[in-house]
């Protein structure tokens, strides 16, 4: 604005004032005005002055490269690193969202010790005398608020995924070995048994979920808890199969089956009580809405699941 008004008197011989006014004052004068004080001004920092001088002069190629490394490249590196970190964070967030259980949650199911595994196996096979069935809460050390349940390492009542996964694998291998002993082994039998066991577990989970929906059980517990509890029955199945194949006589097989079945049914009945009957936990909202009739229905459902359903499924697993 100021220059436009000054320009016409200073340069009268211009023939075309309209196109020349906006362009030349913006392009040519400012660099000239900047470069002159840069070279002469002693108050400008040394690095800036030397950068300009060497860049313009082209003398001292090595120092020019060094400068480039020191400032611009570092800024670029930092920007790149920040972008990488942001991208990683984004990927991790979405990864956890897609699988509905982040990796730490799944990790805590495998946080077991030798002592826990032995005690849990004993508990599954002999649950009659066990006393406290409630899971222990994990409290934060600072504020004392409840942060969820404890890991299996610290709490024997917590469901883990180690024993079910191992029992599942052992079941598949054991039935293949038994088929081999009877002389009917075929490589297909591995996939076939795995598929059948998977189907039975999925069927059980679906039935449990449907029952929870119909009885409007607010399912605070994870899906993996139910998977873990449904996988414990493979231990009884394995024991029955071993007993039935290595000890002659069908009677012993039936006795072992009935004993392991009743032990696991009792174990599930006591363990799943905190899922189905949330009155035991301190939850005012759900205990207000659950009436006596609903409670009765839920107990019936739990009984049906842990006795009838388990009986049928275990029998299917043992027979095949």
């Amino acid at each position: 604005m100021f220059q436009q008004s000054h320009r016409p008197p200073s340069s009268p011989p211009l023939h075309h004032p309209i196109p020349q006014h906006p362009i030349p004052p913006m392009r040519s004068p400012p660099p000239v005005q900047q470069q002159q004080p840069l070279n002469n001004n002693p108050y400008i920092p040394r690095s800036g002055a030397s950068e300009y001088g060497e860049g313009a002069g082209g003398a001292g190629e090595g120092r020019y490269g060094n400068l480039f490394n020191d400032t611009t490249a570092q800024v670029g590196l930092q920007v790149g690193r920040n972008a990488m970190l942001a991208g990683q964070e984004y990927v991790e967030q979405n990864f956890g969202k897609y699988f509905s259980m982040s990796m730490p949650t799944l990790k805590s199911y495998f946080n077991v010790s030798n002592n826990y595994v032995l005690r849990k196996l004993f508990l599954i096979l002999f649950p009659w005398r066990h006393k406290p069935w409630a899971r222990q809460m994990k409290r934060s050390e600072v504020s004392g608020t409840i942060e969820g349940y404890r890991d299996p390492r610290d709490d024997i009542n917590a469901p883990d995924m180690y024993i079910p996964v191992m029992a599942f694998t052992t079941y598949i291998l054991l039935s293949s070995i038994l088929a081999g002993i009877h002389g009917v082994f075929h490589p297909e039998i591995l996939g076939y048994i795995a598929s059948m066991a998977f189907a039975i577990v999925i069927f059980e989970i679906l039935g449990l979920k449907l029952g929870c929906y119909l009885l409007s059980i607010s399912n605070e517990s994870q899906l993996m808890d139910l998977v873990a509890y449904s996988g414990y029955k493979f231990i009884g199945v394995i024991l029955t199969m071993i007993a039935g194949s290595f000890i002659p006589g069908l009677l012993i097989k039936y006795i072992v089956f009935l004993y392991t079945f009743s032990a696991i049914a009792f174990f599930l009945l006591r363990s799943l009580k905190y899922v189905v009957l949330p009155e035991s936990t301190v939850n005012a909202a759900t205990s207000m809405t659950t009436t006596q009739r609903q409670r009765q229905r839920r107990i019936q459902f739990l009984f049906m699941y842990s006795f009838l359903c388990q009986f049928v499924l275990m029998w299917l697993l043992v027979k095949s």
Binding site: M196, F198, I202, L214, R297
Partner: protein, 83 residues
């Protein structure tokens, strides 16, 4: 025998059987219509098993109608060619 494929068939047929129920001819006659659920002040009754079943049926009917067409067609073609 019972495997993953068989389980898939079982689930598919069950969903088909739910989706095929007619709203006008069947569900309203036996009082399971999702339209006329009106309990007045009995708000606590909305959590009963029957109401849950009704909402489940209507949800399956609305949600699964179009996917079922595709899944059924592909299963039929598979069974015709390879079954």
């Amino acid at each position: 025998m019972f495997g993953l494929g068989r389980l898939f068939y079982v689930i598919l047929l069950l969903i088909n059987s739910i989706a095929v129920l007619s709203q006008d001819r069947f569900l309203t006659r036996i009082g399971w219509s999702s339209v006329t659920v009106d309990n007045g002040f009995g708000a606590a009754d909305s959590a009963s098993v029957k109401n849950k079943m009704i909402s489940l049926i209507s949800a399956v009917r609305t949600l699964m109608r179009i996917p079922l067409i595709g899944i059924n067609t592909s299963v039929i073609i598979y069974e015709l060619i390879l079954g």
